[in-house]
């Protein structure tokens, strides 16, 4: 046992309720003592089930162990408690990338880059993912990345992965996804124009009027509550859904993704957005 692990173990023994388990778990993981790291992380999570750092740590350990479905779940939990958790965003991006879902990987890396634009590892990962250098792309999250031969990604465990790519279907260019409030302000997400310019705020501003117009139209024409707006354009398909009465979620994809399928993607994203909004209310 190395000194730092001895010290951390001792500290955790003296103060079982402390957050020393985070450092100890990470130190063990870096040493390749994955089973011990896993036990430490699990123990910490028992005390702190809502701590994003702990879920993030567990994700890294499971990733190193080759349990990619478990890692995905752990990172998803981390994001549930902290949507700006860069480590979890990078970890999930890596898993999507391994699953062949480049648009989803880019989306998560882009969110990470938005949170920390100065992190060179995110920029590098984005460049590699966009460049399609799949085999060469490193896991920015885990130093002990499993060898490709060791990894069999259970794609059915990745909720959004089935939207494109992983089942052999062609990938569909992803322009972004964005959550907007009733006043036309962006709450979360990114939207890129076909020339890769960030147009999120400008589009968000227009969507406030769209939501009001859709509500008015539905009510006056006896259509009930408006549930979705699908818009086809030569450069992309847009799908709008209201996760809550005060918000709109816009998903934009290349026209090659059939609209009905885009609808499924958007509805699923809306459910996640709803959960996220509830947990941050």
């Amino acid at each position: 046992m190395t000194d730092d692990i001895k010290t951390l173990t001792s500290r955790l023994a003296d103060e079982p309720a402390s957050l020393a388990f985070l450092e100890l778990g990470e130190a063990l993981r870096r040493r390749g003592q994955l089973e011990a790291a896993y036990k430490v992380a699990r123990g910490g999570l028992t005390r702190y089930p809502a701590l994003a750092d702990a879920h993030d740590l567990l994700g890294r350990i499971l990733g190193d162990q080759g349990d990619l479905a478990g890692a995905f779940d752990a990172w998803a939990e981390a994001l549930r408690f902290d949507p700006m958790r860069i480590g979890a965003l990078k970890g999930i991006a890596f898993l999507y990338f391994r699953a062949g879902d480049v648009p989803a990987a880019v989306e998560h890396l882009r969110r990470a880059a938005e949170i920390d634009p100065d992190d060179p590892t995110i920029i590098q990962a984005l460049e590699r993912v966009r460049g399609g250098a799949m085999a060469a792309a490193p896991n920015p999250q885990a130093p002990h990345e499993p060898a490709p031969a060791d990894v069999e990604l259970p794609v059915e465990s990745l909720p959004a992965a089935s939207t494109n790519g992983v089942h052999g279907a062609p990938s569909h260019a992803d322009h972004g996804i964005m959550l907007v409030d009733g006043n036309g302000l962006r709450i979360n997400g990114t939207l890129l124009s076909p020339s890769n310019e960030d147009v999120g705020d400008r589009v968000a501003a227009e969507l406030a009027g769209v939501s009001k117009e859709a509500t008015r139209t539905s009510r006056l024409l006896g259509l009930g509550t408006w549930q979705a707006i699908a818009v086809e354009s030569p450069e992309g398909n847009l799908y709008l859904v209201p996760p809550t009465p005060d918000t709109m979620l816009l998903t934009v994809r290349d026209p090659s993704l059939p609209m009905a399928r885009l609808g499924l993607v958007a509805e699923r994203a809306a459910r996640e957005a709803r959960s996220w909004l509830e947990s941050h209310a």
Partner: protein
Amino acid sequence: MSDAQAALERVTQVPGVRGSLLISASDGLVVAERLMDGIDGRAIAALAASLVQRLDRATNQAGMRAPTFVHLRGSNGSVLAAPGRSDLVLVAVAGTDANLGLARVQMLDAVGRLA
């Protein structure tokens, strides 16, 4: 039968479609209509035109060209809109049981013929 009336006829024959109309996008006025009784064409025209205009601005801000087809889905039915050239928009009102795929194809075809 004029081209406009022929277009409306084809769209209205799609199962579940309650009516269709051709409107002017800029002022929301009815150019031609074929609607079931009790449906207010002027209201549909005004509302659809306004919605299409707003979506036009949103797509424009997103760096994309104007919409070629819009589908507003409500819990009790849908409004479909296919903007064409010369400021015209073909609009249809459909129930929840409508064949929306067929309606879309017919509308895009019809609005293309009108151009």
